[in-house]
């Protein structure tokens, strides 16, 4: 769970090497390129949606009901397939904790 979070000039960030979402560090627009480090790898992702400051975007293409990882932990599952570079939020992600048995 250790993380380097001094953000500086970057427009986006990946918190943990196990994560499959990036975080926007400024208001990003569709078509913006995000260059993020995931562990030792550097990955470039082109955004398919506007992604507001603090929101998440897909680092890979998700199938329906696939786990979304942030902080190296599962934060929910996708409600549909989600292409790489898409905004991920409550419109395409769900979490049952505290809601359904």
């Amino acid at each position: 769970m250790e993380q380097e979070t001094t953000a500086g000039e970057k427009n986006s960030l990946v918190i943990d090497a196990r994560d499959n979402v990036g975080i926007a560090l400024t208001d990003l627009k569709v078509g913006d390129m995000c260059l993020v480090s995931i562990g030792n790898k550097v990955v470039q992702v082109e955004l398919r949606d506007d992604v507001a400051f603090g929101h998440k975007f897909a680092l890979k293409t998700f199938a329906k009901d696939e786990s979304v990882y942030k902080y190296g932990e599962e934060i929910g599952k996708t409600t549909s397939s989600v292409p790489i570079g898409s905004w991920i939020h409550t419109h395409n992600m769900y979490c049952d904790r505290g809601l359904k048995e």
């Binding site: 993380q3 953000a7 400051f53 603090g54 599962e74 929910g76 505290g98």
Partner: protein, 389 residues
Amino acid sequence: MTDTFMGYRRENGKVGVRNLIAVIPSVFCSAKVAERIAYQVPGTVPFRHPVGCSQVGEDLEITAKTLIQIGKNPNFAGVVVVGLGCERFSPYELADGIAPTKKMLETVVIQEEGDSLQAIQQGTKLAREMQQKASFQQREEVPISELMIGLNCGGSDMTSGLFANPALGIASDKVVEQGGSSILSELTELLGTEHILARRAMSDSVANEICEVIQKMENRLLQQTKNSSNKNRNHLISKGNYDGGLSSVVEKSLGSMKKSGNAPFSGVIRYGEEPKVKGLHLLDSPGHDGEVTTGQVAAGAQIVVFPTGRGTPTGFPGIPVLKVTGNPKTYTKMKENIDINAGKILTGESTMEEMGEEIYQEILQVASGKTVKAEILGHDEQFCITRVP
């Protein structure tokens, strides 16, 4: 040698960071009389609340224990208890609960004084005398092991979990490493972190207790959402959390727990009780800001440190609530309410380590008497005792 601060040593050995007189109603019926007394005497704080009667069982017991524990908090040099006279939670039981601290203590009962005006007059005289005695007490140098901080975040956005909470975690670890105490809570917003928190427990029994209290809180949420007549009421996080980029309660939880750093958990505290040993604890409370900080102050916390991404002005009567934001825009917008800008990590002006040290040093200064913005502006909204269904 550990770090020290300048505090007020009380009769029972505990140390306060403020030197105030608490005016505590035993029941909601005496709240206005308590407020009028406090209004007349600078250096006193009233504790308005809506409970103390027409309650039964565990719900009334938690109200009783919490009001007693608030009176025992060492930030208060003395307490004036204000009762009505016919309530279920007797003002004399409240005073008897506070008495073992040996602090200054008086009880005023409206139905015994005659009417509300006579009760205000009597209470004002008693509070005035106490305030004068308290004013002569001096601060002395004490080790940081005497300090207990409450951790609570409210109005979170993703900067809370990414910047403000981990920086606070560094500061909390420094307090705990030197023998002090720190309290994490907000169980409704720790769903999904129990396996991580349990790994940090000092013993198997503490690990089991952590999992058990979070499971119980989740069951309560399941019950409430299942029985809801309006499905729009079933959101476990707020609109502002969603707008700030948080998509689920687990995502919020993973950020929330970072306030507690990496220290081991010494125990779990029940609401209205105080920890038996020093160190980091988990308080059994839902995530409502006021219910959390009330439980923490009842446990003995003299300071609350409060990260807020969206920005909230609230404070607690007689307890400094130190506000930290991880969002530089929120800091600029709410400078009059927020004490520390951990958004400097985002803008590259500060590292996480430097920010943790800045928060820690501010905690020491506030413990020695430096006022926080919520105190100066009179914010006292957070006093709110949890209810049990």
